[in-house]
Every structure is written in structure tokens, then in C-alpha cells.
């Protein structure tokens, strides 16, 4: 299966690429509109900050490409945050595919930011992305900002505050954690996305 991995300027693309390859996907890392449109699945990865990533997408002319994509789209980590309307990080407008604003996690006694490590997913409603996951599945998170638990949230997570861990609305989905680094749990989610897409 042809999977386009969008080049949003962040580093750390290797791990996503390898994880998809382990699942048998034919991955192309690209910022080309036609290549992205032609792919059967599209992944928006991202490690880094929201504003530079949006600037890079804009410079590559990809904002509309992503907004009007017809194939299933999965945002990972920062890539998921970019799906929302805006981010407090750099106070930047994002893609606006999902309603809501990404905000900074709140530090408190024993709650360190970045949220870094393995934490439990709390299923909220059924989604093809979560098919076959064991109860209490844990995933690997690394982030300082997070999206709210809104109507599109299918699984939440708690680190001080509760936030969206997995979102899905029509063809658009996102994972705040790193499925490519979440062992069997992450592989299952990526495989679900590759096989079934989202809708």
C-alpha cells in the first residue's frame, strides 16, 4: 500500500518510516501535492514546534492539499495537533480540520512537562483505530502541548489534565502518542489505519 509521509520539516521521520515498512507499507517521504494526493494513506508526522511546521507546510503549498485530501489522514504527535484550529505553541493557526485549540500541559507537583513516557489510553468510544487493543493499553508519549477532549476524541489520557490521545472525525485521525514507538499497541493502531483507514 502506498503511504505518503508528509515532510513537515521536523526531524525524526526514520522511526515512523521504519514502523510502516515493518507493516508492509510502501512509504514515500514527500512534500509534493500530487504524490500526497495519489497515496492511499497519508501520515502527517511531526516532532518540533507548531509554528515552524505550519510555516513549512504553507511554504510547500500543502495547507489546502491536506485540508481537501480525500484519503485517510493520520496525524502523529505534533502532526495531530496541527489538525486542530490553532495552537497555543507560538500562537499559530493550524489546519482547522478538527475544532479546538491545542494548549500547553500544566505543570504541577509530580506532573512534569514534557509528558514523557508510557501512559494508559482511556477509550471513550469505539473507533476502527482502537480495534483489537487490550484493555488498559499503554502508549509512548512525548509532548508538552495537547488537544482538548472534544467530540472527536476516541481515547483520552491523563497527565495532570485530561487530554485527547486519539482523535477521529471522518477521514481525519490523530494520535498524540508515538505509535511507531509504542511496541505492539502502536503497531496495531498503525495497522488498523493502514488496513481500514478511517471513515
Amino acid at each position: 500500500m502506498k503511504v505518503a509521509l508528509i515532510d513537515s520539516g521536523g526531524a525524526n521521520i526514520g522511526s515512523v518510516r521504519h514502523a510502516l515498512a515493518r507493516l508492509g507499507a510502501d512509504v514515500v517521504f514527500t512534500d509534493d501535492t500530487e504524490t500526497i494526493r495519489a497515496a492511499e494513506r497519508v501520515i502527517l508526522p511531526g516532532v518540533g514546534a507548531a509554528a515552524p511546521a505550519m510555516a513549512k507546510l504553507r511554504a510547500a503549498g500543502l495547507i489546502e492539499t491536506i485540508r481537501t485530501l480525500e484519503r485517510p489522514l493520520l496525524g502523529i504527535c505534533l502532526g495531530m495537533q496541527l489538525l486542530f484550529e490553532s495552537s497555543e505553541e507560538g500562537d499559530v493557526d493550524c489546519l482547522g480540520l478538527l475544532p479546538g485549540r491545542v494548549t500547553k500541559l500544566i505543570e504541577s507537583e509530580g506532573v512534569r512537562v514534557p509528558h514523557m513516557g508510557w501512559n494508559r489510553l482511556q477509550p471513550i468510544r469505539p473507533s476502527v483505530l482502537l480495534d483489537g487493543l487490550p484493555e488498559g493499553a499503554q502508549a509512548y508519549f512525548v509532548h508538552s502541548y495537547a488537544a482538548p477532549v472534544g467530540g472527536d476524541c476516541v481515547a483520552a489520557c491523563t497527565h495532570g489534565m485530561r487530554f485527547a490521545a486519539v482523535v477521529q472525525r471522518g477521514r481525519v485521525a490523530g494520535a498524540q502518542f508515538h505509535p511507531e514507538r509504542s511496541a505492539a499497541v502502536g503497531a496495531r493502531i498503525l495497522d488498523n489505519f493502514l488496513r481500514a483507514g478511517v471513515a
Binding site: G10, I13, G14, H18, G48, E107, M116, W118
Partner: protein, 258 residues
């Protein structure tokens, strides 16, 4: 809730995993990929690879093995050793590492931390600190510890450096307590507690693990986010599934072992 991390550390020299006592007399433990897979299968939460000779030799990490590791494992890993610039870090991250850890080069030029944080985000940037208590009772930082002939004692106090590193953009601190390292007498709880009070980002304990009780103690008493160890895992004295079962029995939250 966020679980406490168990992190095997693999010291890499000439493409092999090695282990020494108090940073000296290294013996070969095996191939990088074999050990990486073994720990992944046992339920390690994360791996750290230290290219222990890169920094003293003034060269960057060999990205070939980073790529090989990235291809086969599906848990996060951090690479340390000889990362002196944004370009070096980009190479390692593009090869598939999740985080980079800087130590001696950050002491040479602290702005490196800020540059990495601004380019890749603080969550990618780990600052490793080698620390030893001096005769006057102060913990101070050591540099170039990968090579005993080049190791330097700095005037910089460990607690000051912990704060400075966070101000510059460290997303995580790994504190290697050299006085405890390699002798398996337990983590340096006193020092880790002191650092914890100054450390708002995740703190990883390193140096001294010899028994399961040491892990329980460091999580309970020093409130660290993760515990790193090498020889007790390499030698098989502690197996991660048993370690996690014991931690859970002690009411310390850990990820389900494989």
C-alpha cells in the same frame, strides 16, 4: 497515569556494546542489535545508546548502527555521544533516534542545548550529566568521561548545571552519579533527591543499580521518572519482567512488561 521507566543503557564502542566498571576496563557484552531486541522483548520502556568514545575522540556518532536499531525496534531510544551541533543531531534523529543526549559538548558550549531545543523541540533534547562529589562535599560536573585519560573535573556545580540546562531547553536530565556507577551498591539517592528539587523536567537516575531494591528505593525516595542501568541487565542478574513485577508489588506504576 504516567509510568516509571526502566531504561537499559548500552555503551557502544566500535559498533559493539561494552561495559566497564567506573568507566574503565571495558569488556564486550554483545552486538548492538541483539541486545536492543532482547531488551525490547523483555519489556524495556526505552533504550539509551552511548557512543562512549565519540566525544573524547571529537567525532560524531556513527549513524549506520542508529539506522539498524531504528529499523528493528519499536520502543523509543536515545542516542548520546559526540553530538556537537544541530547538524549532528539531525543526522541521528533522521536515522531514527527519538532523542539525542548531549553531555560534554553542552559543557563546552551551553548554547548547543538552546539550538537543539529550538530546532527539534525540548522533548528531543536530553542533557546527560556526569557528576561526582568532591572533597569539599559539593557535587561537580565531569567532562569527557568516556576516556579516563581525558576526563576533566569542572568547577561547575551539578545543581547549577541542572538549572542552567533546563533554562536553555533540556527536556530531560539523565544524572549519572559517578561515585555509585559500576559498583552496584544502589543509586545515589541523596544526590538524586537534591537534583530532583531543582529539576522540573523528567529526571532519569543513572549509576549504581545492583538489585531490585535499588530501583524501588530510587523511585520511592528520589521520585525520579526513570531508572537507567547497564551491567545488571547485561549480566542477567536482573530480568526486566521480574523487576517490573516487583515494582508493581511495591505500588510503583510501571508499564506492562512484554
Amino acid at each position: 497515569m504516567l509510568t516509571r521507566r526502566i531504561i537499559p543503557c548500552l555503551d557502544v564502542r566500535d559498533g559493539l556494546v561494552v561495559k566497564g566498571v567506573r568507566f574503565r576496563d571495558h569488556v564486550t557484552m554483545g552486538a548492538i542489535e541483539d541486545l536492543a531486541l532482547r531488551y525490547r522483548d523483555q519489556g524495556a520502556d526505552e533504550l539509551v545508546f552511548y557512543d562512549i568514545t565519540a566525544s573524547p575522540q571529537g567525532r560524531s556518532v556513527d549513524r549506520a548502527w542508529v539506522e539498524r536499531v531504528a529499523r528493528i525496534i519499536d520502543i523509543p531510544f536515545c542516542v548520546a555521544g559526540g553530538i556537537r551541533s544541530v547538524a549532528d543531531a539531525r543526522d541521528v534523529l533522521n536515522a531514527g533516534a527519538d532523542k539525542v543526549s548531549v553531555n560534554s559538548p553542552a559543557l563546552e558550549r551551553p548554547e548547543l542545548i538552546a539550538e537543539l531545543a529550538s530546532e527539534f523541540g525540548v522533548q528531543c533534547v536530553v542533557v546527560g550529566i556526569d557528576s561526582l562529589r568532591d572533597a569539599d562535599g559539593e557535587w561537580r560536573v565531569r567532562q569527557y568521561t568516556g576516556d579516563p585519560a581525558k576526563t576533566r573535573a569542572l568547577a561547575r556545580r551539578t545543581l547549577d548545571w541542572v538549572q542552567e540546562a533546563q533554562r536553555l531547553g533540556a527536556g530531560e536530565i539523565v544524572l549519572n552519579c559517578m561515585g555509585a556507577d559500576g559498583v552496584r551498591g544502589g543509586y545515589d539517592i541523596e544526590q538524586l533527591r537534591a537534583v530532583r528539587t531543582r529539576c522540573r523536567v523528567p529526571l532519569i537516575a543513572s549509576g549504581g543499580a545492583g538489585a531490585v531494591e535499588h530501583f524501588i528505593a530510587v523511585f520511592r525516595e528520589a521520585d525520579v521518572d526513570g531508572a537507567l542501568a547497564a551491567s545488571v541487565f547485561h549480566g542477567g542478574e536482573i530480568r526486566i519482567p521480574e523487576l517490573k513485577a516487583r515494582l508493581r508489588a511495591a505500588a510503583i506504576e510501571v508499564r506492562d512488561a512484554a
